[in-house]
Structure formats: C-alpha cells, structure tokens
C-alpha cells in the first residue's frame, strides 16, 4: 500500500544504453490516460517481477515534467547490489508490461529562491535534468555543476551543455577536474538555494562546506536514496498481523512483510521519506538503523524502525505492523 494513489500500468516504450553502466527507460501508459505532470526532483517506484521476487526501486524522473506522453528514468547498474538494477539492465525490454507509482517529490525546488545552484555527482544528475527543464520554463536562474568519472560515463553531459550553454559546468575525475566548491559558495547572491545529489561522500562534503561557509540549513537540499543493504537473515514478529516472518539476506524487512501479505505503507523505499516508520514493541538485540529519517535519539532508543532499509540482529524483535 502506498497510501491511496493507484499504480500506473505502463509498457516499456524504449530502452537506450547510454554507456556500459547506464540505461535509460521510457514508460508509456497502457490505460489510454495521460501521465500525470510532476515537479522537478520527483521519483517513481518501479515494480519488477524478478522470477517471483517482487522488487520495487525508486528512480528519479528525468523527463520533461510537462510531458504527459511518458516517463523516463535512468538506471545505473550496480553489480554488487541486491538485483533491482541488474534486473532492469538484463531483463527489461521494450514492450514489457510493468507498474509504476505516481510521482512523489522529496527533493523539491524552493521556488522562493533568487537562484538555484545545482551540484550533481554521477547518476545523481537525473533529478536535475527534470528540475532544469522546469526552471527553464519558469524563467528562474540556475547553474549546474556536474562531476562524473570520465567522458565515457558522462551521460547527458554533452546534451545538457548544448541545451543550457554556460550554465552547465562539467568536471571529469579522470582529468583531475574538481568542482571549485569554496569559490562557488563564496559568490552566490543572497537568496540562493543549493541542491546536491550524488554519492554519500559528495553530499557530506558539499553540505558540510556550505554550512561552514555560513549557509543556513534551510537553504540546503539533498537527496540520497539508499539501496536496502544486504545482511544476515533475521526473524521479526509482526504484532498487529500476528505473524512471525524471516527476512532473507538480500531482502528488506519491508519486502519480507509484503511477501507475507502484510500491507505496509511506503513512499520512497530508500530510508528518506519516513512513511514506513513503525513502532518497536520489543527489541532484544540491536537494530541496524540505515535510514536518514529517525533522529539520533530515536535510533539510540530502539523504539522505532524504518523497515525499508533497516535490519536487526539479536534474539527478538517485535514491531507494530
């Protein structure tokens, strides 16, 4: 259950291999209705049927937010991951029927901003592609700084450069280009908002530097979806459903509940949105809190758990679901 909104039935219209790591997918609706428009930064959850295992991964929308003919996402292959991106890369072909969620935005633009400073690393470019399209329509000021490993892996770099010219700055790691962050943080007009999406280390570097340079947290925005980490199998007692389930090593607690027929809420499935927050009744052992949602105090007290990304080891875990 993802609170109310019905799933959108789609068919894969196009799969484009941009480079050895990244493929782009286009979905069009099969029920004849227009796709909803959305706000730049929104994601959808794509449902996959991987030989009987249901996988549901969030991906940022990168198509034009006003385009009601289809949705586009880009997926980076993660060979060490749990299999969602591998499934998308190896099995999803044009013509396949799938289901996606309605768009949800956890990384929205602050439209009060006098200027938008966008900082992307690697596949973190995708939400910015939609945001820039929207900012261009709205006539807002923006500038993109996009850091990527090499020209070969720089999906969309040339395309964005040709669309937005001087407002796009590309940095290639293998050519020792670095985002001149300190300089960028110095020269922005009052009322600028900063947005960062990319690897964990990069987000921490950008946000930390900005705060040290006197930027208030309310002007800083970031998005990082966590892939649910793999681990050891563990047992969980679901108090409200009167069931005890086992969470497999490559499965998340949320997925294990769904597989057991328990209806649990979610929106992002990546530890960011807070929708799946669940009370813990009893915890003899320790919870690996992998989310960005709970406060350090909540995590320490083991009274809440985010089943989309967090795991457990110990004797007994009883949760209110």
């Amino acid at each position: 259950m993802s609170v109310g909104a019905p799933k959108i039935p789609v068919v894969v219209a196009e799969v484009v291999e941009l480079n050895p790591l990244i493929k782009r997918f286009r979905f069009v609706r099969t029920d004849g209705k227009p796709m909803p428009t959305f706000s730049g930064g929104a994601h959808i959850v794509v449902e996959m049927d991987d030989n009987g295992t249901r996988r549901m991964n969030p991906y940022s929308l990168m198509s034009d937010p006003t385009d009601t003919s289809g949705f586009e996402i880009s997926v980076r292959r993660d060979d060490a991951g749990r299999g969602g991106s591998l499934y998308m890369h190896n099995h999803v072909r044009p013509g396949m029927a799938m289901q996606v969620s309605h768009p949800v935005n956890l990384f929205g633009l602050d439209l009060r901003a006098k200027k938008h400073l966008l900082i992307a690393g690697g596949i973190g470019i995708t939400p910015f592609i939609a945001q820039m399209t929207q900012l261009e329509h709205l006539g807002h000021r923006f500038e993109l700084h996009y850091s990527v490993r090499s020209p070969e892996l720089g999906a969309y770099a040339d395309d964005l450069k040709s669309r937005y010219g001087d407002r796009v700055h590309i940095y290639y790691d293998n050519q020792k280009h670095m985002i001149p962050l300190a300089e960028l943080l110095e020269g922005q007009p009052l009322g600028t908002h900063l947005y960062v999406c990319g690897p964990k280390g990069m987000i921490a570097w950008v946000l930390g530097s900005a705060e040290a340079a006197g930027w208030h947290p309310s002007t800083l925005h970031s998005e990082e979806f966590l892939a649910p980490p793999v681990g050891h199998a563990f047992e969980v007692e679901l108090a409200a459903s009167r069931k005890t389930i086992t969470v497999g090593p490559a499965q998340s607690l949320l997925e294990a509940m769904e597989a057991a027929g328990v209806d649990a809420p979610y929106l992002c499935r990546g530890g960011a949105c807070g929708q799946c927050e669940t009370d813990v009744h009893r915890c003899d052992g320790s919870i690996e809190h992998n989310d960005h949602w709970l406060t350090p105090e909540q995590k320490a007290s083991n009274t809440k758990i985010m089943p989309c990304v967090s795991r457990f080891h110990g004797a007994t875990l009883v949760i209110d679901r």
Partner: protein, 206 residues
C-alpha cells in the same frame, strides 16, 4: 474565533534566542534600544575571533521606543561600519541596499524590540533568505506592533490591552496571534457584540 480572549502563548508567537557568533563571510547586525547590550555580548562571545568578525561587520542601530540610546557602546566596538539612525523607516533603505548587494554566507543578527526584529525579518525574507537563517534576541521594551484586522492600519508601540486603533478608532484587544509577514500582532474589536462595553485598559506591554 475573534472573541477568544484566552491567555497563554499561541504557537504563532515568535520565539527569540540568544545571539551567537557564527562563521560567515560578513556580518550584519540591526539593533534598537537595549539591543545594544546583546550586540556587545555577542562580540564578547566571539572571543579571539572578535577582531576578524568586527572587520567584516556592519551595524545599523536606532534608539528604542522608550528612548534608550546606547549607540556609543556600539561605536566603541570598532566594527567596519556602525550607523545610527532615528527609526526603522529611515534605516530601511540602507538595510535593503545592503541586502541587495549581499552574498550567501552573510550572517544576520537582529536584537531589541519585537517591532524592530519583526520588520528586519520581513525585509530579509523579501530579499530571499528564509527567516530561520536570521538570529534574534529580545531585549528591552515589550511594547507591541499591532495590526487592526478591520482597517489594516498598524499601531506602533502598543502598551495596553485593549487599546484604541490609531487609524479607525475602534477599541481592539491584542491577540497573541502574530504575522511574520506583517511583523505585527492582531488587534480585534472588543465591543463588536456589545457596542460601548469596553473593559478598562490594562498595561500589559512595557
């Protein structure tokens, strides 16, 4: 809604803190009356970093509604710029120019009366910075700036509750409901349902 005269603090009432030096490329301080004391304390808290901070600090000061004028104590700090004006409307063009030229990393501090701090916050928000980014500290008079919800006129330095609107003349009671955008509390006619039955004015704000 308008006839609830419940005492106690409403959740729209601003909460003020204590000014703390924060890293930034420049510092802008706007204070009135007793707020000068908070500025002196702020600089003291900066300790060893005070000279570097003051070299990039711009202070705008005006006397408080009760007449307190402590500008000399601010001038003595040795900030890069220290400017005294007689009221907010005179200070406003200077503040707007400073905000218009400013860059991210500017730290903004305001201290003194609620009326001053509210107006600074309003003008900073108009310049594009979220209100949370501004530090505030209340010092001195607790007189209020109140908007008459009926005629929209603002009466400055309200001391009593109820009071008479300085524009339309209605007798208003002062709600704790506060608008950041107007930098004012809300005044509502107290004798609408029983014309002429106005309770005696009590000095609530000094």
């Amino acid at each position: 809604m308008t006839n609830s005269v419940l005492e106690g603090t409403m959740r729209s009432r601003p909460v003020y803190g204590v000014l703390e030096p924060r890293p930034g490329k420049a510092h802008l301080i706007v204070a009135d009356g007793e707020g000068a004391g908070a500025v002196v304390d702020l600089v003291a808290r900066a300790g060893e970093t005070a000279p570097a901070m003051l070299a990039r600090t711009h202070i705008i000061y005006m006397p408080g509604p009760n007449g307190t004028d402590a500008f000399e104590s601010l001038k003595a700090l040795g900030a890069a710029q220290a400017f005294r004006t007689h009221d907010y409307s005179t200070a406003q063009p200077r503040l707007k120019k400073v905000l218009g030229d400013a860059h991210m990393g500017l730290q903004i501090y305001t201290t003194g009366t609620e009326g001053l701090m509210g107006q600074v916050l309003r003008d900073v928000m108009e310049a594009g910075l979220p209100a949370q980014a501004v530090q505030t500290e209340h010092r001195g008079s607790t007189v209020r700036r109140v908007q008459c919800v009926h005629c929209k006129g603002i009466t400055e330095n309200v001391r009593t509750d109820p009071f008479q609107c300085s524009h339309c003349g209605l007798h208003l009671f002062v709600r704790d409901h506060y608008s950041r955008r107007l930098a004012a509390y809300q005044g509502v006619n107290i004798d609408a349902e029983d014309p002429g039955e106005v309770p005696p004015a009590v000095e609530r704000f000094k």
